[in-house]
């Protein structure tokens, strides 16, 4: 064996030329370098914070918030962590209303861009080009300072009967429970279950016999009839609460802050322009043969859109649209600029009150991260389910 290894031909190359060694050493160097940088920065952080007498843990979260949050029961004496929770809640309030709003708006405009009516197509195209190319922060400012602040003061609110609008808030008509409300909810809950069963039953029947299912009409008629009957029998368990102006405040109804609507509308309009482009692209991406097949079956244009084109376009559109929802969520942080108390604003204010910035910003980033990463995991699962098996 010794003779073989010394002749130089069949000798193994030196160990540092082996692929395994190169791969390992590169990775070790990279990891080591990153760890060293992080360690160095972390060290600086702790030392600098101690030097300036700032606490390095999260114990300050129980101290007083020090600010009022409009539209909530938080007083300046409440602990910081409760303020942050209200901030998260307010961010969600924007997302929950904004996502359906921008989806409807975006899809309508996207379809409108493909309209056979030249005027409609042009208006939708102008909308998309206008809003897509403006900074969202500018839109938020514009909506709030140039539009909402031009509304009348509280005393002279526009009173549209069920809605009150002024520059400080919007009040909608609300509902107030009267005696018997519990019974009413119970009856409606049971009816809802029955309505769902009717829906399934109609669907099954349609599948078996082919007779039109009309499941929407059936279940809605049932729900409506029971709602009306129970309402009359129980003697009006729900009363309307119509907002009214009383001096400088409004009484009754549901109230939303003007800042909330400013951010909501501005960001929804901005994101809708992106969703419109996605919708249009997805509809155009549905194979032309599908439309032709629908025409060959003599489907009406609305039927073709509803049953053939849109379901297929939706599969293409879902991943980019969800990414737009995430963008919308991240953009709600712009509410900071006009003073709507969502999480970024409360973080900013708390730092302004002298609480340690590194921890507060870490918490802020963590809240957005949890949300973003959860959504992306869900999207990946959904996406795998939605794709056709052949793809």
């Amino acid at each position: 064996m010794a003779a073989l290894t010394t002749d130089g031909l069949s000798a193994r190359p030196p160990f540092w030329r082996s692929l395994k060694f190169i791969r390992w050493s590169i990775q070790l160097v990279a990891v080591g370098l990153s760890v060293a940088i992080v360690f160095y920065l972390w060290n600086n952080l702790i030392r600098n914070m101690r030097a300036s007498g700032i606490s390095t843990d999260f114990s300050f979260l129980t101290q007083a918030l020090g600010v009022n949050i409009a539209g909530s029961d938080i007083s300046p004496g409440a602990p910081i962590w409760r303020g942050l929770l209200v901030g998260i809640k307010n961010t969600f309030a924007l997302v929950i209303v904004g996502v359906p709003l921008l989806t409807v708006l975006g899809v309508l405009i996207g379809i409108g861009k493909l309209s056979t009516n030249w005027l409609v197509a042009k208006i939708c195209a102008v909308y998309v080009e206008l809003f897509r190319n403006l900074p969202p922060l500018l839109l938020v400012y514009f909506m709030f300072n140039a539009v909402i602040l031009q509304f009348p003061a509280v005393e002279n609110s526009w009173d549209l009967g069920f809605v009150l609008i002024n520059q400080r808030f919007v009040a909608f008509v609300g509902f107030v429970g009267q005696p018997g409300i519990g019974m009413y909810w119970l009856v409606m809950g049971v009816t809802l279950l029955i309505a769902i069963w009717v829906w399934i039953w109609r669907t099954r029947r349609w599948e078996q016999t082919g007779e039109p299912h009309r499941r929407v009409a059936w279940s809605m008629a049932l729900l409506g009839a029971v709602a009306l009957l129970a309402f009359l029998i129980l003697g009006g368990p729900i009363a309307l609460s119509i907002p009214a102006i009383d001096g400088r405040v409004a009484t009754g109804g549901y109230q939303g802050l003007a800042q909330y609507f400013g951010v909501l509308i501005a960001l929804s309009m901005y994101t809708a322009s992106h969703v419109a482009e996605i919708t249009r692209g997805s509809i155009l991406a549905v194979a032309k043969g599908q439309t032709e097949a629908a025409n060959a079956l003599a489907l009406k244009p609305t039927q073709r859109l509803r049953h053939i084109v849109l379901p297929q376009a939706m599969r293409i559109a879902i991943p980019p649209v969800i990414s737009q929802y995430l963008n919308f969520t991240k953009n709600t942080s712009l509410a900071l600029a006009i003073g709507y108390a969502e999480i970024t604003r409360i973080t900013f204010q708390t730092i302004g009150n002298g609480h340690p910035a590194p921890q507060m910003i870490a918490l802020l980033m963590a809240s957005y991260l949890v949300f973003s990463l959860t959504i992306s995991v869900l999207v990946n699962i959904l996406n795998r389910r939605l794709q056709y098996a052949s793809r």
Binding site: L137, M365, Y368, L373
Partner: protein, 411 residues
């Protein structure tokens, strides 16, 4: 056949505007209704917009135009931004001319047709910029800016044709010239008693942060993209972690971090200025997005290309540098322009930190005593909106054009 169809078949060349209106505006009862309702609304809105356009007092923009453009750059040094603008326009025009000339030589070698750019094309593609320039000049108070702009245009056209006529062997040198001009554009502002970027403001700052942000983030993003597609698990994990973490948070949180907390991470003697901190934040943020753009380009590359490189016996880094990147990066140009536009719009976020960028200036000039409480907010905001819109719209159209062109060349 009805008479209508007959006329449509037999007079296809005659432009029958009535037929067009009938087919595109009144082709069914609900479309007719829509047309009437929307048409009335649009005419009304346009009239209202025109009326308010003429009703405004533009003094606030006239007085503050310099502030809006360059912030608080010393007024006795305004020749510096102009000089810088001349050098940068020269660089861009020269580069455009060189690219066109290169494309022409390539097309001639391959025997393919080559379309020259006509002045009409430039007008059709760049009309928003021209309109903006005319509006800006109409707001100036002296004749000097107009003369300087005319000079700028003339010099740009001259630099373009210079790039077109430089012979093939001189092009390498000319590209060095482009780089030197860009460098000169920076030095004209900052060197020899000028002001560094910490004292810039207005639109100038927005544009600078966009260009510098992309330029600084690109190398980092490229490394991250290659890392994400690496076969080494540790490097892949680190790249994916960085990219996903940064993409999961809004830019404003990273800006807040850089602005309020980065001082804690650095040694005590290192205190970067606010703009430098912002630039760091933008670089770190954009790198993650650029990494995703580059990854898209890498994924679009057929696998055979890498395999071909390997079968030639090239080492991995040479395969990447000579075969993968030149092709992949060409694919990334249109989405990179998209990223550029997104950053251009996002630079407005520094307003929240109180930095005097274009948005912030258009905001605070409303608090000047002579303009306070006159409801001019809508005017100054619209002015800022117009500037941002023109830039983004023009760039996005160019990106789409490029996308089409690259796509055609590929197949």
């Amino acid at each position: 056949m009805t008479t209508q169809e007959v006329s449509a078949v037999f007079t296809p060349l005659r432009k029958n505007w009535w037929l067009w209106v009938k087919e595109n505006l009144f082709n069914s009862w609900y479309n007719s209704l829509l047309t009437v309702v929307l048409g009335t609304g649009i005419v009304y809105a346009l009239l209202a917009a025109l009326r308010s356009l003429f009703g405004f007092d533009y003094t606030i923009l006239r007085v503050n135009l310099t502030l809006l453009m360059v912030g608080q750059f010393p007024r006795d040094m305004l020749w510096r931004p102009w000089l810088s603008g001349y050098l940068l326009v020269a660089a861009v025009a020269l580069a455009a001319g060189l690219l066109k000339a290169q494309a022409q030589s390539k097309a001639e070698q391959a025997g393919l047709p080559f379309t020259k750019t006509r002045p009409g094309d430039v007008l059709r593609r760049g009309w928003p910029v021209l309109v903006l320039v005319v509006i800006l000049l109409s707001l100036t108070q002296t004749i000097t800016p107009t003369l300087l702009t005319v000079g700028l245009l003339a010099m740009g056209i001259a630099a373009y044709f210079l790039g077109r006529v430089i012979p093939a062997r001189g092009r390498r040198l000319a590209w060095v010239g482009v780089v030197l001009l860009v460098l000169g554009g920076y030095l004209a502002l900052a060197a020899f008693g000028g002001r560094g970027w910490s004292q810039w403001g207005g639109l100038h700052l927005n544009v600078f942060l966009t260009i510098a942000g992309i330029a600084f983030a690109f190398p980092l993003g490229l490394l991250l993209a290659l890392g994400r597609r690496s076969s080494l698990p540790a490097i892949r994990t680190m790249s994916v972690t960085y990219i996903e973490l940064v993409r999961g948070v809004p830019l404003i949180t990273i800006l807040l971090f850089a602005y309020l907390a980065i001082g804690f991470l650095l040694p005590e003697n290192l205190k970067p200025s606010p703009i430098t901190r912002i630039l760091i934040a933008i670089t770190l943020f954009e790198a993650a997005y650029i990494a995703e753009v580059v990854r898209g380009g890498l994924q679009a590359l057929p696998k055979g290309q890498v395999e071909a490189g390997q079968s030639l016996g090239l080492p991995a880094w040479k395969t990447t540098r000579l075969i993968v990147l030149p092709q992949a990066l060409r694919h990334t140009i249109p989405p990179m322009v998209g990223q550029f536009i997104a950053l251009y719009k996002d630079t407005t976020l520094i307003q929240i930190l109180g930095v005097l960028d274009l948005l912030n200036v258009s905001f605070i000039i409303n608090t000047q005593p002579q303009f306070l409480g006159q409801g001019l907010f809508i005017l100054t905001m619209s002015f800022a909106a117009l500037i941002f819109w023109v830039g983004s719209y023009t760039m996005s159209r160019e990106a789409r054009r490029l996308e089409k062109k690259l796509g055609v060349g590929e197949r």
